[in-house]
Amino acid sequence: MLKQIEGSHGVSEAVALCRPEVICAYPITPQTHIVEDLGALVKSGKLANCEYINVESEFAALSVGIGSSAAGARTYTATASQGMLFMAEAVYNASGLGLPIVMTVGNRSIGAPINIWNDQTDSMSVRDAGWIQLFVEDNQQAVDIHIQAFKIAETLSIPVMVCMDGFILTHAIEGIDVPEQKQVDKFLPPFVPRQVLDPEDPISIGAMVGPEAFTEVRYIAHQKQKEALKLIPQINEEFKKIFGRDSGGLISTSNTEGADTVIVTLGSVIGTIEEALDEQDEKIGSLTIRSFRPFPLEEIRSALQNAKRVVVFEKCFAVGIGGIVANNVRMAMSGTNIPVYEVIGGLGGRPIIRKSLHKLFKDAVNDKLEVVTFLDLKKDVVDRELEREKQLIQSGSVAENVLRDGGVVNAAKTT
């Protein structure tokens, strides 16, 4: 049924339709509305046969989730930002133990300095933890991919993160077609756990694994991710048959055929990028990565092989090297002579606007891009702080200096 609702609300309805049996929740902006709505659904009885557990931290949220999943319950949780860091050990445990938990990440930056706004640093901080990571473009996809996520997770017995841009999607109210319960029941069979902790038949899982077997366990985890490269498009096809909507599988492309320049990105920014591309005349294609883990090397390479240049636009970066997505795309393009430029934008919620994108596109087609570009960087503010640091040993806090130099607030004084 088509409804005009908040993205978070759409996700909570989608999760409820998947009949989770345990939801462990600890609120953190911007995912809070999702777990609040689920709490209300459980309390009202609309979501039956589900235990909703309020916990004391994100570490507990996922640790309880590990327990409930190991006990054979379909398990869901959500987090963001510092919450992801606080549960980091459990993130690795969930995947290491092969537990098919589904977790929403309302993508948000990581501090310090504290910042509640959107970028994708939180998901990226655990990109190699062994979870499948699916990034969604809009709220319809957020709903549809959550339903697919349970099936992907349970088929392979590995956990899935559904990554949706915080605020930009979680707080946006737009039209969402929320599926019917009977459609979801047809698509998603009851959870049959590959391993189960049962007091009637006690076993232990998660015991010590020494050098004699650790490599093999890790190798199998990698193989499962490779299997997911086949499974994700298959499940998308199954979904399409029942629900009539295509969520794109591993990647989606637009106008890449015959385009010299292709913009590669992930998440909701593709909407603004496509609008900006429609407003200009250059032949520029776009590629959106839905599955960041597993990373679809072959699909990306094949989609980009006829381009003359690739521009990766990402809302995250690895301090000390550069773009994270860009470096993964370079791996896909290795052996070709196609240059991969990286553009970092939208950090800590800085709006990504068409005006800046138009200049970026122009620079890209004219080969005027630097290898790394920070979109809309306030160079004067940066230079001023770097100069201050040269002049003064006790130059003060960078964040407060930048806030003051940027005219944002009358922040802490420096000498």
Binding site: I168, E174, G271, I353
Partner: protein, 192 residues
């Protein structure tokens, strides 16, 4: 596409206004997108929310930089932020105030066709019907009257869906009152 930017302060229902407007457009079978400006909203702090309405799906996710209509729920914002930034030349402006633009000291900042810039005593209307100084529904009624971009019936239906029961009822009365007032297109009545 028609873009509305709503300015106000935390507690005045700015975000709800954008949501209600988007639901009203949805009721009319249009595509719409409502988004709050993202911040640590709290009572009294400046808050901005956006609503886009279009006949085709809306992909754009940048903040509304060039609004077709601007709703200002709190006239004390003029000194604090550049409320008028990007307002289209043929755009619409609705300000919650019983004072004139001259009295508000913003006459020089407004370059719009005469009937497009309107002052609405929204707080007074809200106090009459809702008994609380919540100008958001009132200004949506005014928006329906002045721009025609949305029907008043869609606005009231959207209010009823967001606030079922008594709260919705009084907000609907307030919105309809503003709609009637502004539909008369009579400047004198606006100084009530």
């Amino acid at each position: 596409m028609f873009q509305v930017r709503i300015h106000g302060r935390g507690g005045q229902g700015v975000v709800s206004a954008a949501e209600i407007l988007s639901v009203a457009a949805f009721i009319e079978g249009k595509h719409s997108q409502a988004v709050p400006s993202f911040g640590s909203e709290r009572m009294g702090a400046p808050v901005v929310a956006f609503c886009r309405i279009d006949d085709k799906p809306i992909k754009l996710r940048e903040p509304i930089l060039e609004p077709d209509a601007l709703i200002v729920q709190d006239p004390t914002l003029f000194g604090a932020i550049d409320v008028f930034a990007g307002l289209s030349k043929n755009g619409y402006l609705l300000i919650n105030s019983k004072r004139s633009v001259e009295e508000l000291g913003i006459a020089d900042a407004i370059h719009l066709p005469e009937d497009n810039a309107r002052l609405v005593p929204a707080t007074e209307i809200a106090l009459k019907y809702i008994k609380r100084p919540l100008p958001n529904a009132v200004l949506l009624g005014a928006l329906a009257a002045v721009t025609g971009v949305i029907k008043i019936d869609s606005v009231t239906e959207a209010i009823a869906s967001k606030f079922p029961g008594k709260i919705g009822d009084v907000n609907i009365q307030a919105a309809e009152s503003a709609y009637k007032l502004l539909s008369h297109n009579n400047q004198e009545e606006l100084t009530c």
